[in-house]
């Protein structure tokens, strides 16, 4: 069993709520190398032979299984690119917890680019949680550029929750999905940027099968002089439903740009977008102050719940 340093343990806790090694299938990657791997009867994790990364095979019909694939980067100057591909068998039901934590104590840029591709078999269900977190007393940038591709077969259901709450200098996030007949995708993105951080989120969701359904929920808080850009696009090609909702709280001198897009290529497509950007409402702070919180405590509480 690999030994975890205190920094490793802290990062694993922040991104995957792990205390030590997880149960179920897992693959822990540290500074571009495999740290520890565990397969189960229904889940096989194999090292790719063409690119750096892993293939994860979930057997058809596997139920209540979990896969943890956290990545930690602790070496300053590390440039890590990894390709992870998930093959989810028909009727399988699985929880996948991914994420990347960077601890950069040096002055060089540390970067992790994770390219995750999901193939969801017929009637399978996936819940995917991805957390990104940066920390470190060094001046080196902490960069995370994830790409997520999802292909969903008939009747499959996918819930994706992607969270980046602290310490990432810059991120460009690309999410692409294609939904087959009756497939259902829920994409929730939660983001907090501060100082001079930048974050861009591009999404392209194509609804290709009748009865497919996507809901995109983006909640973000932009503080200090940080800049956020949201660019989600839903394309409806058939009888389908799509809803994209961007909500942002802006503070200090931050900039938030939200461009939710919908494109209907069929008269049977029902697509809705909404976007709202604004400061914390004064009546929210006053209400919490009447319950005994200081203005600062009230603000923190409101943001914590907004991103919860």
């Amino acid at each position: 069993m690999a030994k975890l340093t205190n920094i490793d343990a802290h990062l694993l806790e922040a991104i995957a709520e792990l205390h030590g090694m997880p149960t179920g299938a897992y693959n822990i990657r540290k500074d571009g190398q495999l740290l520890e791997r565990h397969n189960t009867a229904n889940i096989e994790i194999a090292t790719k032979t063409d690119y750096p990364g892993i293939d994860i095979y979930v057997k058809p019909g596997a139920k209540n299984e979990t896969v943890h694939i956290p990545v930690i980067v602790t070496a300053s100057g590390m440039q890590d690119v990894v390709y992870n591909t998930f093959y989810i068998g028909e009727d399988a039901d699985v929880l996948i917890v991914a994420g990347c934590g960077i601890h950069n104590a040096g002055s060089k840029k540390s970067e992790h680019d994770g390219i995750h591709t999901f193939y969801l078999g017929k009637n399978s269900r996936v819940r995917y949680i991805e957390k990104h977190y940066g920390v470190g007393e060094g001046t080196g940038e902490r960069v995370l550029n994830p790409t997520t591709n999802v292909e969903m077969e008939e009747g499959s259901v996918c819930e994706m929750e992607m969270i980046q709450l602290k310490g990432v200098t810059s991120t460009i996030r690309d999410t692409n999905a294609k939904l087959g007949k009756g497939a259902k995708l829920t994409l929730t993105e939660k983001l907090l940027t501060h100082d001079k951080q930048t974050a861009t989120s591009n999404m392209k969701i194509e609804l290709e099968g009748d009865g497919s359904n996507v809901q995109v929920i983006s909640r973000s808080v932009a503080q200090d002089e940080s800049v956020q850009v949201f660019n989600p696009l839903i394309i409806g090609k058939c009888e389908c439903r799509g809803h994209v909702q961007c909500d942002a709280i802006i503070q200090h001198h931050a900039i938030v740009k939200a461009i939710p897009g919908i494109e209907a290529q069929s008269e049977d497509a029902t697509l809705i977008h909404e976007a709202a950007i604004g400061r914390i409402a004064g009546d929210q702070i006053v209400k919490l102050m009447t319950l005994g919180l200081s203005a600062e405590e009230a603000e923190k509480q409101i943001i914590d719940d907004f991103l919860s």
Partner: protein, 251 residues
């Protein structure tokens, strides 16, 4: 005890003229009292409540609560001294659950059974609302009742409710008046001030204060004031006679 001494609050109108909202108002509210403040729209009732809570700052005058001058005290310090305020138009919070808001009010993580108690006292079924977010998915009446539940959870020595009945259906209103009556009947040092025009709430009061044009136009006991306000004294005030329908509060 709350003492309001010569309180004034004015704002500038569009033509930069001083407009007196509260004009040299003095009032005392003793412990264990149920006081209803009533009066015409625009008379200064809600402003007075906000001045007591600290949401607005007075132009002059003094507010003393249990011997402490709170005139310049921030809102949260007043809350810690035991003043609570139920807003007429409550705030909504994206992402915050009803349970979380009640826990903030109670200043502790509330077990489900305690949340259930506060919610049932405003006629809401706990299992339906505990994990709901306090956002725009709630109707105005639901939000109002949750607002009142936060004051019950905070349990202030002096609770001020600004038109608590507004937007609330008749069945829930019965439950609510019963709750106010129970708090009052406990006689454990808690005072209730309700801004209302509703006859059945006015009927619960020990004292009624009529505010008009920023001043106390009249005040006195319920029996003295009801005829002056043009209300007939109700004959059925026994709480046991109040019908509580078998609504969702029973679940």
């Amino acid at each position: 005890m709350l003492e309001i001494k010569n309180l004034c609050f004015s704002v500038e109108d569009a033509a930069k003229r001083n407009l007196d909202i509260i004009n040299d108002l003095s009032l005392t509210i003793d412990d264990d009292k149920f006081v209803v403040i009533t009066g015409p729209n625009g008379g200064g009732k809600s402003t007075l409540a906000k001045l007591i809570m600290g949401v607005e700052k007075p132009t002059s005058g003094q507010i003393i609560f249990n011997g402490v001058d709170i005139t310049d005290m921030p809102i949260n310090e007043r809350a810690k001294l035991g003043i609570g305020y139920g807003f007429q138009q409550p705030a909504r919070f994206k992402g915050m659950t009803v349970r979380k808001l009640l826990s903030i009010a109670a200043k502790k993580k509330l077990p489900a059974c305690e949340c259930n108690d506060y919610l049932s006292r405003v006629g809401l079924c706990s299992s339906e609302y505990l994990h709901r977010e306090v956002d725009k998915s709630l109707s105005g009446g639901e939000l109002k009742r949750i607002e009142i539940a936060t004051i019950l959870a905070a349990d202030p020595k002096l609770a001020i409710y600004d038109e608590p009945e507004a937007g609330i259906d008749l069945w829930s209103f019965d439950r609510l008046t019963e709750t106010f009556r129970q708090i009052h009947d406990a006689k454990d040092g808690h005072s209730i001030v309700i801004i209302s025009h509703q006859e059945r709430i006015i009927d619960l009061a020990d004292e009624i204060v009529l505010i008009r044009a920023g001043k106390v136009a009249d005040s006195g006991s319920r029996d003295e004031m009801l005829p002056k306000l043009g209300y007939n004294r109700r004959t059925v005030t026994n709480p046991k006679c109040v019908m509580i329908p078998r609504d969702r509060s029973d679940c």
